[in-house]
């Protein structure tokens, strides 16, 4: 299943947030969306997942999602969005219950995703007992449990400290190498974009428009072996964005 963004524009009341966005998310690819603060990245991701509707344009599903997929478009949120009153297992079972998956069937799935995210020992822990990195791993496990056709990630690492971020980035790469998941990954961290993205969509400041789409051809597993190449891509992106970021930073909010 591919996803096609078709001429998406959006305004909240009088504020134009997005302007005529067009691109395609191909199955098995990680697309990174980068752009300065407030340019509409999160809004765009909400459109892609059907949580909100753009004023113009539409998001199209091309092809049917795999039959076994319980929730084809699945989010991973910046703030993890775990229910604090449920244990790790309970949080995963939450998204299965409504599909009528309970008991041993659910246990099998939960054990599997916990193993894949190296969380097997933490099934009974409450979110408050976990570090940020672990929480995000639980959120990833939960997402995997519903066999998504496409993962929608909104700055999944930006609430983590940089060391944990580094560790989780490795985990996401490993996971992709094993499972070749499709993903739309929003970030404003250029380093993440060049480490994880097969293709990077660069948005301008608000109203967000596509400024550039950069393909990164190095296979994910080899990227750390080519620091100079990556740095070059990153510098290219940073040059595209630097002035916009500065201007966005200087803007007075609701003065």
């Amino acid at each position: 299943m591919d996803l096609k963004l078709d001429g998406i524009s959006h305004a909240y009341d009088a504020t134009r947030v997005l302007n005529n966005i067009d691109f395609t998310i191909k199955a098995g690819q990680i697309i990174c969306i980068i752009g300065p603060s407030g340019c509409g990245k999160s809004t765009l991701l909400r459109f892609i997942g059907g949580l909100e509707r753009p004023t113009e344009g539409q998001v199209l599903q091309i092809g049917d999602p795999p039959a076994e997929s319980l929730n084809p478009l699945t989010y991973i949120f910046q703030d993890f969005a775990l229910l604090p009153w449920r244990t790790v297992r309970g949080n995963i079972s939450l998204v299965l219950e409504d599909h009528g998956i309970r008991g041993t069937e659910a246990d099998t799935i939960i054990n599997d995703v916990l193993a894949r995210t190296k969380l097997s020992d933490f099934g009974a822990a409450l979110p408050k007992q976990l570090s940020g990195g672990m929480k995000q791993r639980v959120a990833i496990a939960r997402a995997l449990a519903v066999k998504p056709a496409c993962l929608l990630m909104d700055e999944p690492l930006s609430a983590l400290d940089s060391q944990t971020r580094e560790l989780l980035m490795d985990d996401l790469v490993d996971l992709w190498l094993k499972e070749k998941y499709t993903a739309c990954y929003v970030t404003h961290n250029l380093n993440e974009a060049v480490r994880l993205g097969h293709r990077v969509v660069v948005l301008s400041r608000r109203p967000g428009q596509v400024r550039d789409i950069v393909d990164i051809d190095i296979p994910l597993e080899d990227r750390l072996k080519h620091p100079a190449l990556l740095q070059e891509k990153q510098d290219y992106l940073w040059n595209l964005m630097r002035e916009e970021a500065r201007a966005a930073d200087l803007e007075l909010l609701d003065a």
Partner: protein, 277 residues
């Protein structure tokens, strides 16, 4: 998940089903609508009025709103409303200001000093839940039957919630800001004045909102003690005489008083808490 080794798609768009992604957001965001409330109230009052007119609601059980309004107009025209309001507002003002000033001082002490907190917090916890009508006989003996006991009733009623709001507010001032003040060598009193008090202001204002409602609620109790004038006294008399129209009119006046005070505090919040994000 598609089990591919390279990131390309298997299906050509033309051959595959194309449909928009399903929408599944929205909801869970009720808003205070500007339209519903007036309609609702108009409907409520019309039904009530009609019920009274057509005799579905016995006048003993509830007067028609128009009758209550008539009672209110009588009060206005006879000039008594001013007298009642004057008396009540004076008591409210004195009691509330007194309770607030004392509550601020005591609450601040509890918020700043371990010793004070140790004494004040359990004391307040024990005394706050005592119904003030139970204490009326005591107040009469302590303060007599003049204005003092009425003011004291309201003062007592506002003192305890103010203390709680103040020390709660002080507790909730961002410790990071206080630490910042210390790190710049600000004096103790500077920290209290420039960081703690403004930081506790939101909690203080919402405490004022509560203490003002309590003060208004206590007006009736306070005016049980030999008051000739006052909204509370008017309501009590109406209750005594089973004059339901006057009772409803009096209660409506209290309700309006409460809404006005709440509106005033809302204004104060808008002005003094402009800095809130």
């Amino acid at each position: 998940m598609p089990d591919l080794d390279t990131p390309t798609t298997v299906q050509t768009p033309s051959a595959a089903a194309v449909k928009p992604v399903p929408y599944r957001g929205g909801g869970f965001a009720p808003r205070p609508s500007r339209l519903v409330a007036p309609i609702f109230f108009v409907l409520l009052f019309s039904l009530w009025e009609a019920g009274s007119r057509f005799g579905w609601i016995s006048p003993i059980v509830l007067p028609a709103p128009s009758e209550a309004f008539q009672a209110f107009m009588d009060l206005v025209n006879s000039g008594q409303l001013v007298l009642h309001l004057e008396a009540s507002l004076m008591r409210l003002a004195l009691g509330w200001v007194g309770g607030t000033v004392l509550g601020l001082a005591v609450g601040l002490a509890a918020g700043l000093f371990t010793l004070a907190r140790g004494g004040i917090v359990p004391f307040v916890a024990a005394f706050f839940p005592i119904p003030k009508i139970a204490l009326l006989p005591v107040f009469i003996i302590w303060f007599g039957i003049g204005e003092e006991s009425k003011v004291a009733t309201i003062l007592f009623g506002t003192f305890f919630p103010t203390v709680i709001a103040v020390y709660g507010g002080v507790d909730n001032v961002d410790r990071g800001l206080i630490r910042m003040g210390q790190s710049f060598n600000l004096g103790w009193w500077s920290i209290v004045r420039k960081i703690i008090l403004p930081g506790a202001l939101p909690a203080l204002l919402s405490g004022f909102r509560i203490s003002a409602s309590i003060a208004i609620i206590l007006l009736v109790a306070a005016e049980m003690i030999g008051a000739e004038y006052g909204i509370g006294a008017y309501i009590l008399l109406a209750g005594n005489l089973m004059a339901m129209d006057q009772l409803v009119a009096g209660v409506a006046i209290l309700s309006l008083l409460g809404l006005s005070v709440s509106w005033l505090i809302g204004r104060a919040e808008k002005i003094f808490l402009r800095w809130r994000a």
